[in-house]
């Protein structure tokens, strides 16, 4: 998964591992490579330069020695000839001199010619010539007398210098008429005279120098380098630029170029001392090294020039090869690093993608198959294990959640069922103005163990009860349902509260394997007189608030909690409620409601609130009490169910004496049989609480059941939920109105008259019930208004 580089992260760290590995490898290795190549370049350059300089100096020296080696023997030969003549004091037969000359020419191929030139005055009388000269004439030997009368040879350098310097002298090299370079070496001959040693003449030897060029050309001075030879005057004897040989000197070139430095270099070169300098060639302007070495024979200087460019090219070639090898190595290294990096980052990348998929919730995402046993493989395996654990956990969680949801749903249903178990229609009977009653039940969980109940035994007697089952939750709720069931049936059998409780206790204790129990308070209120009979099975003492502002806790009589032991007996108590007196039944969830610091709500606070609220109706009072409890708890979780029932006896006012005329019951019945059953129950409750004709409960029940059953069964061809409205007025005369939005149906016309004589099974369904309704009802009126069937029935 690609992440944008972190803000402020150094650039190099913002990339993938592979890129970073590659960049670092290339960067560091490249730097090392560059450093190595540069270092090598520098050291190699220095070494090669030093070598080149040494080579220049060495070659100059070696060449000088080589030239000396060739010139030396010839020099020796001339000296030898001079010494011979000198030793003989020129008293040599001329033929012998000539033989010596010819022998020299034969033995020394480098010698072109040799002469013995004497001052004419000192010529031995026996000699025909003063200056015999033998020379090479192609393959033969030629002869000539150099003295032809004008004595001009006396002015030649080879004669005059040897005479003037009184030593062997190398002439300036010259070009022979054939173009061949030559040099003449001459040695003075001295003869002893009375005045001392006397100059008599010279022995000379003309030497071919063509081998010099070949020798210098063979010097290994690189492609551009060259050797040169110059005289003591700086004149070039040998130089790669042929035009300047024997015509120019280093000084004439320096003059032509106006180069003082070249002149100085020339002066150093002809100074007779060897040297080695950095030099820029005048011939091509390239930097070079110039080494020179004076000869030991002739006073010439051998020079060698090695060009730095040559060396530079060599160094560059070496460095380039090195760099190429290094670069190839770098490429290999990068490839290797890339492969390694890929072997790491690919699984990591795949793992990362897989992890992202995991994180997105897809726990079935495939993980890359771990390869090998490296850290990545371990990481992959660990991821796999994690995923599997997560998978299991999620499966468990899903299961648990499903179970919990199911339980929650069931609990919600149970809650609704439990709430349906207690009457919730207030006011209980709107027509009655002699009482006010309201009740509240708030289970701590979905379902609770508390319940309250009230019902009329007849028009005058009202039963109120409150109970608290031990334990909480579903067991308590179930036990509560059972208790309520037993409680109602107990009162159908005997209206005495004590005996009813005893019966309930007995019924509950039978088969009470789970050893549950219930505290229960119940009272039978005689509305007309205000007398109250009550019994208490271990329940909290109800609070009696007198109309004049006094509170009493109805603590006695007080029995044990029901269902503990069979055969328990409960004593019935009695008290009288004046008009305006209020009775509050409650469970311990009220007085033991705790705030965040575990302080109880308390009976004093309850009593005080009740006193303060004496002007409020029961509904308002209980709502206020619930609000106060909520304020007390201040958000703390309540552990116990809170259940309250409040009854107040009201004074009957005169204008309401004929309240029966207005007594009516309004029912809204859903179009199913369960709704009908519930409606019938309410009808029963209502009819029990009103004074009516003795036959009314029976007739009203039958009419309602028959007609509504008919509507539910046939009125709605669709499967939708509809509401059937029923209004029952006690009268007199008692009337009932039924309205439904089903199919138009006039029971008076559309229903066939049943054949009463026919066999029961063969009769059309519903026909009989309707017949009975028609028979029993005083009158029936049907009309259809705006899609609604309305049936008005006078119940007689």
């Amino acid at each position: 998964m690609k992440q944008p580089p972190r803000q402020g992260a150094p650039w190099l760290f913002g990339h993938s591992i592979r890129t970073r590995l590659l960049l670092w490898t290339i960067g560091v290795t490249g730097l090392i490579l560059i450093a190595v190549v540069t270092w090598n370049y520098l050291t190699t350059r220095d070494q090669l330069q030093a070598q080149a300089r040494e080579r220049a100096a060495f070659l100059a020296e070696a060449s000088a020695a080589k030239i000396d080696a060739r010139l030396g023997p010839l020099q020796g030969l001339v000296h030898g000839m001079a010494l011979t003549l000198q030793a003989q004091a020129l008293a040599l037969p001329f033929a012998q001199v000539r033989a010596l000359q010819d022998a020299a020419l034969r033995d020394y191929p480098e010698i072109y010619g040799t002469a013995v030139a004497l001052l004419p005055a000192l010529k031995p009388a026996a000699w025909p010539d003063a200056a015999p000269y033998a020379y090479r004439d192609q393959d033969a030997l030629g002869y000539q007398n150099l003295d032809e009368g004008n004595r001009s040879y006396l002015g030649e350098d080879w004669f005059a210098l040897a005479k003037g310097l009184d030593r062997g002298v190398w002439s300036e090299p010259y070009r022979w008429s054939t173009g061949v370079k030559m040099v003449t070496y001459s040695v003075p001959i001295r003869v002893q005279a009375s005045t001392g040693a006397l100059f008599a003449g010279v022995v000379t030897c003309d030497i071919d120098l063509e081998w010099l060029d070949r020798m210098l050309a063979d010097l290994r001075l690189g492609e551009l380098g060259y050797g040169l030879l110059m005289t003591h005057n700086g004149t070039y004897i040998a130089h790669p630029v042929k035009e300047i040989v024997l015509t120019e000197s280093v000084f004439s070139i320096a003059e032509a170029r106006g180069s003082a430095s070249l002149r100085q270099t020339g002066q150093r070169m002809v100074s007779g001392r060897p040297g080695l300098i950095d030099w820029v060639s005048w011939a091509n302007g390239e930097p070079a090294w110039l080494a020179w070495q004076p000869l030991k024979t002739a006073d010439w200087t051998m020079g060698t020039v090695i060009f730095q460019a040559q060396l530079r090219a060599e160094i560059l070639r070496l460095s380039r090869n090195e760099a190429l090898v290094g670069a190839a190595g770098l490429v290999l290294l990068v490839l290797a690093v890339w492969l390694v990096a890929r072997s790491i980052t690919r699984p990591v990348g795949a793992l990362s993608v897989a992890a992202a998929t995991l994180a997105a919730g897809d726990l079935n995402a495939a993980l890359p198959a771990p390869r090998g046993r490296d850290e990545i493989a371990q990481l992959t395996a660990a991821f796999g294990a994690m995923r599997d654990s997560l998978n299991r956990y999620m499966a468990d969680l899903a299961e648990t959640t499903a179970a919990r949801e199911r339980i929650g749903a069931e609990l919600r249903i149970a809650h609704e069922i439990q709430m349906d178990l207690v009457p919730k229609t207030f006011p209980v009977i709107p027509a009655r103005s002699d009482m006010d009653l309201f009740a509240l039940m708030e289970p701590a969980r979905e379902v609770g163990g508390d319940f309250y109940d009230f019902f009329f035994l007849d028009h005058d007697r009202l039963v109120v009860a409150i109970a608290d089952v031990s334990g909480k939750g579903m067991p308590a709720a179930l036990f509560m349902a059972v208790t309520r069931s037993f409680f109602r049936s107990a009162f159908k059998a005997d209206a005495d509260p004590g005996r009813a409780l005893a019966r309930v206790s007995d019924d509950l204790s039978e088969g009470n394997e789970s050893c549950m129990f219930v505290t229960l308070f119940c009272a039978v209120i005689h509305l007309a007189g205000g007398r109250v009979d009550f019994a208490n099975a271990g329940h909290n003492a109800p609070l009696l608030v007198r109309a004049h502002g006094r509170t009493e806790w109805i603590a006695t009589p007080h029995g044990t909690a029901a269902a503990i032991v069979p055969g328990a007996r409960y004593e019935s108590g009695r008290l009288t409620l004046a008009a305006g007196d209020t009775l509050l039944l409650y469970t311990d969830g009220v007085t033991e409601a705790m705030d965040g610091e575990h302080r109880l709500y308390g009976e004093e606070r309850l009593a005080a609130l009740m006193l303060r609220s004496s002007d409020l109706t029961c509904r308002e009072c209980l709502n206020a009490l619930a609000g106060d409890l909520l304020a007390h708890a201040a958000g703390a979780q309540q552990s116990d169910d809170i259940t309250m029932l409040m009854f107040r006896r009201l004074a009957i006012r005169a204008e309401h004496a004929s309240w029966d005329e207005d007594a009516c019951l309004r029912l809204e019945i859903p179009n199913h049989l369960e709704g009908l059953a519930s409606a019938l129950e309410r009808l029963d409750g209502f009819l029990a609480s009103v004074e009516a004709a003795p036959t009314l409960p029976y007739v009203a029940r039958l009419v309602l059941e028959e007609l509504v059953t008919n509507i539910i069964k046939y009125g709605y061809p669709d499967a939708g939920v509809h509401c059937i409205r029923v209004v029952l007025r006690v009268g007199p005369p008692a009337t009932m109105t039924i309205e439904d939005d089903g199919q138009a149906f006039n029971p008076l016309l559309d229903a066939p008259t049943p054949d009463l004589e026919a066999v029961t099974e063969a009769r059309a369904i519903g026909g009989l019930g309707l017949h009975m309704v028609k028979t029993m009802a005083g009158s029936l009126a049907y009309r259809r208004e705006g899609g609604v069937n309305r049936l008005d029935i006078v119940l007689g």
Partner: protein
């Protein structure tokens, strides 16, 4: 300058005597052929032929030495057709060790020759019997001032004239020796004289403490051998009042008598050639180097440039009237004669009018 040799061995010169003659013949042949070619090539024809329309007369002029800038004006006068324009078919000959220009003139190999004034005076001295006139007459005096000098090694202890006393000093024999001897006498020194020939190598090898030199030639040769001026002490003869005019053009009395107009024409054209060289020194150098190359001589341009510049300064002496060009001053002639006499080189001097019969005419 007559002594520039480049070290060609005398031995070789002798051996190839026959060959030299052959070469000379070839040179002559080439010269004739080129003259013919010039005659028939309209483009090369001089703009002004002689009015007579007669074929140009062949005139042979011998120069003192082998090709160098000393003769640049002659080469240009020839190459630029100035001689031809004057109706002259002039051919330049070069002297050698074997034959001096005077030799060539005397033997009739040349009609005209360049000579140093002092040598010419000696050569022009009347016969000892006093009968007749000098054989040699001057056509014009080219080099007006002396370039003669003595150079001494400072490192040998020569820093003033007195230091020459007792030291080996080489100088040329012949006409020049008079100036040096006068110099020694004037400075009261007695050096050991050593004959000086073509080269200064004896001096360069420290064989002598001082040597003779021409400012335009040897002085620069020595510098071109790597010897800086600081190492040398220079004595210019002219600084000591001992310098005489040098190169001049001479002919025989016989030829001059036969061709007085030719003499004038040569004189005018030669001066014009030198004027041209002065105006175009690089072209003059090209001509000199080409001439040297043809003669197979070693020559380098810096040296020839130095020589040309000094020769030109000696012909066209700064501060001298243009009319003096090519002319010989009577007083100068007289002092040269005096100097030669004091040196014992001359017994009887020619008369000025005999020596320079054309002097007084407009050059």
């Amino acid at each position: 300058m007559m002594f520039e040799r480049g070290g060609v061995p005398l031995a070789a010169a002798w051996r190839h005597r026959v060959s030299l003659s052959a070469i000379l013949a070839v040179v002559l042949l080439v010269a004739v052929r080129s003259a013919i070619a010039q005659a028939f090539a309209p483009a090369a024809s001089p703009p002004a032929l002689p009015a007579s329309g007669a074929p140009a007369a062949v005139v042979r002029l011998a120069l003192q030495w082998q090709p160098q800038s000393q003769f640049a004006g002659f080469y240009l006068a020839r190459d630029k057709g100035l001689y031809r324009a004057a109706g002259l078919d002039l051919r330049l000959l070069h002297a050698s060790v074997a034959q001096s220009s005077l030799d060539l003139l005397r033997t009739g190999s040349a009609d005209l020759a360049t000579l140093f004034l002092t040598d010419a005076i000696i050569a022009a001295r009347p016969p000892a019997d006093g009968a007749g006139r000098s054989e040699i007459v001057q056509v014009m005096q080219l080099v007006q001032r002396s370039n003669l000098m003595l150079l001494g090694w400072k490192e040998t202890g020569v820093s003033q004239a007195a230091d020459l006393d007792g030291k080996r000093v080489s100088y040329w024999q012949g006409g020049f020796s008079s100036a040096f001897q006068a110099f020694f006498a004037a400075n009261a020194v007695r050096p050991e004289p050593v004959p000086q020939y073509a080269s200064v190598n004896l001096f360069l090898n420290h064989g002598v403490a001082a040597c003779a030199a021409m400012e335009y030639n040897e002085y620069h040769r020595i510098w071109q051998a790597g010897i800086d001026s600081e190492r040398i002490t220079v004595f210019r003869m002219r600084d000591y009042g001992l310098g005489f005019p040098e190169d001049g053009l001479y002919t025989t009395l016989a030829w001059a008598s036969r061709n007085p107009e030719g003499v004038r024409a040569v004189r005018a054209a030669t001066l014009a050639g030198w004027d041209y060289a002065r105006a175009h020194p690089e072209e003059a150098l090209d001509a000199v180097l080409a001439e040297a190359r043809r003669a197979g001589l070693a020559a380098n341009r810096p040296h020839e440039r130095w020589m040309l510049s000094h020769i030109l300064d000696s012909i066209f002496v700064p501060g001298t009237a243009p009319t003096a060009m090519g002319r010989l001053d009577r007083n100068t002639f007289a002092s040269a004669v005096l100097a030669l006499r004091s040196a014992g080189l001359l017994d009887q001097a020619p008369e000025f009018a005999d020596f320079a019969p054309f002097e007084g005419e407009a050059p």
